[in-house]
């Protein structure tokens, strides 16, 4: 199954912070096991722009779509056997301690 990991910040992180090179090691593990398809770190929410069309008018606003103290700091697309494997892989990401990770299954594509 294909899952998207939203790598998010958290206002109450674990005491143990992220160490240098940990994300790189996680990315390499994903590549070695062939389960991480792609992913990226994102620029901060200050750089976010939200776009809507309402009654035919284009509305462009500064900031993310939801006002919240936590924001999405990156994403990864992974291919896992099942949710337990996805949870296990997500739990090894340093941001599982320094932030939080939301796992969302992909909507299946018609075949």
């Amino acid at each position: 199954m294909e899952y998207l990991f939203f790598i998010a910040t958290d206002t109450e992180p674990d005491a143990e912070p992220e160490r240098d090179g940990e994300v790189q090691a996680w990315i390499e593990e994903g590549a070695r096991r062939g389960i991480r398809k792609q992913g990226h770190r994102l620029r901060p929410v200050e750089d976010a722009t939200t776009v809507r069309i309402r009654a035919g008018d284009l509305l462009v606003t500064d900031g993310p779509f939801a006002e919240s103290k936590e924001w999405i700091a990156g994403f990864d697309i992974v291919e896992c056997e099942n949710l337990d494997d996805a949870i296990d892989f997500a739990s090894r990401h340093p941001m599982a301690r320094a932030g939080r990770i939301e796992i969302r299954p992909f909507w299946p594509t018609e075949t």
Binding site: M1, Y3, E81, L83, I87, P105
Partner: protein, 394 residues
């Protein structure tokens, strides 16, 4: 006809989870598995009165449920979904009926998966493992039937769409998943134990806890939960009064306690300090005593001291205060209770009323009684408390 009904009910209790579990293993479709099992039991009720009860009712129901699953798939299959349905039918027709005990454990662990919300875990366990109907589960949780049906639909959908695996977790995950399974089983037991007519629920929680202990014989908490459930359930025939009211341990006729089950439970209590093990040890103190006065209250207080450290809660403090009141006299218990705040929790004024009565402070006890009555939601319990209050005031 009565024979048929009672046989169908008995097989439902003992084999529902196995039948549904086996169909889920073969089809991966939770709703289909439940519907097909439901069909099989309905067909049994229709046919057995005329055809006679088969020699092996559970095997008959398993085969019929499997055939119903195939029929349902055939009639539902459209051109687009054909390939998938055919593959499932293949596995239904040729799949293994073995692995039967594992099917029940697979169900328990999957229903208790932490990615499902807690109310859904309990409801799903009651539906798929214990075989309760949706209206029965809805009434046990005091929610409308449509709400409960929705909750079950959402839980099944998440299992399928989020890829929650249908399995007993591998060894490295068993430890962390165990706590969640035990919590669900305890809730199932309490759902059965709190409703007078639902003892089969308590019994199926005990049987499921037994299966978990067999799977993980070295886990003291699993053994502790099983011991706790067996010991509590041994008192089932003594805990309800003539008017249907709940009786305290002190009021119960202990000759109605099931001695064989108590011996079984006592032998299970593990020598460890996990929360379930400690609660089992407390239940064991009560089970060994011939009366409330004869109880080793010193031991009970000591166990509550440990429990308070391991899993602190106001309810544990309340029970510890009662035990201290029994050991050191009512005033000692009352002093501890006065420091507790448990808004809306009727057992606090009830405990205070009891200790005040023991101390001979009747008029204060009457006030606490009134408070308890105001917080009691069951009509039956309220009527009983009002009767006791009237006795006090006369």
């Amino acid at each position: 006809m009565n024979d048929v009904r009672s046989t169908v009910a008995a097989v439902s209790r003992s084999d529902w989870g196995r039948i549904v579990g086996g169909l889920i293993r073969l089809t991966g479709d939770w709703a289909l598995a439940e519907d097909a099992a439901q069909d099989a039991f309905a067909i049994a009720l229709q046919r057995w009165p005329a055809d006679g009860i088969p020699n092996n009712p559970a095997a008959w129901l398993t085969t019929t449920a499997r055939n119903r699953a195939i029929d349902r798939l055939r009639s539902a299959a459209s051109e687009r979904t054909r390939a998938k349905e055919v593959a499932i039918m293949e596995s239904l027709e040729h799949g293994s009926g073995q692995d039967i005990e594992d099917d029940r454990l697979r169900l328990i662990f999957t229903c208790a998966h932490p990615a499902l919300p807690l109310p859904a875990r309990v409801a799903l366990t009651l539906r798929t493992v214990a075989g309760l109907t949706v209206p029965e589960i809805a009434s046990a949780f005091l929610v409308p039937e449509s709400t409960m049906a929705q909750r079950l639909v959402r839980a099944r959908r998440k299992i399928e769409e989020a890829g929650i695996p249908y399995r007993v977790p591998p060894a490295e995950l068993l430890g962390e998943r165990l706590g969640g399974v035990l919590a669900v089983l305890y809730l199932v037991f309490n759902q059965g134990y709190s409703a007078v007519a639902r003892n089969e629920l308590a019994a199926s929680a005990i049987s499921l806890a037994g299966a978990v202990v067999e799977l993980m014989p070295r886990e003291d908490e699993a053994r502790g939960l099983l011991a706790l459930l067996v010991l509590q359930n041994s008192r089932r025939d003594a805990r309800i009064g003539v008017a249907g009211e709940l009786l305290t341990l002190e009021e119960q006729d202990r000759s109605l306690w099931h001695r064989d089950e108590i011996s079984h439970g006592l032998a299970l209590v593990p020598p460890s300090d996990g929360p379930y093990a400690i609660q089992a040890a407390i239940a064991a103190c009560h089970a060994r005593a011939s009366s409330a006065a004869d109880t080793d209250w010193d031991e009970v207080v000591g166990l509550y001291d440990v429990l308070l450290v391991r899993s602190p809660s106001p309810v544990v403090e309340l029970n510890r205060a009662i035990a201290i009141g029994m050991r050191d006299g009512p005033d000692a218990g009352l002093e501890l209770l006065s420091a507790l705040t448990l808004d809306g929790y009727r057992w606090l004024p009830a405990a205070q009323a009891d200790l005040l009565l023991r101390a001979g402070r009747t008029s204060e006890a009457v006030d606490r009684f009134r408070e308890t009555i105001a917080l009691t939601t069951s009509d039956l319990e309220r009527a009983d408390l009002e009767r006791r209050l009237a006795e006090l005031e006369s």
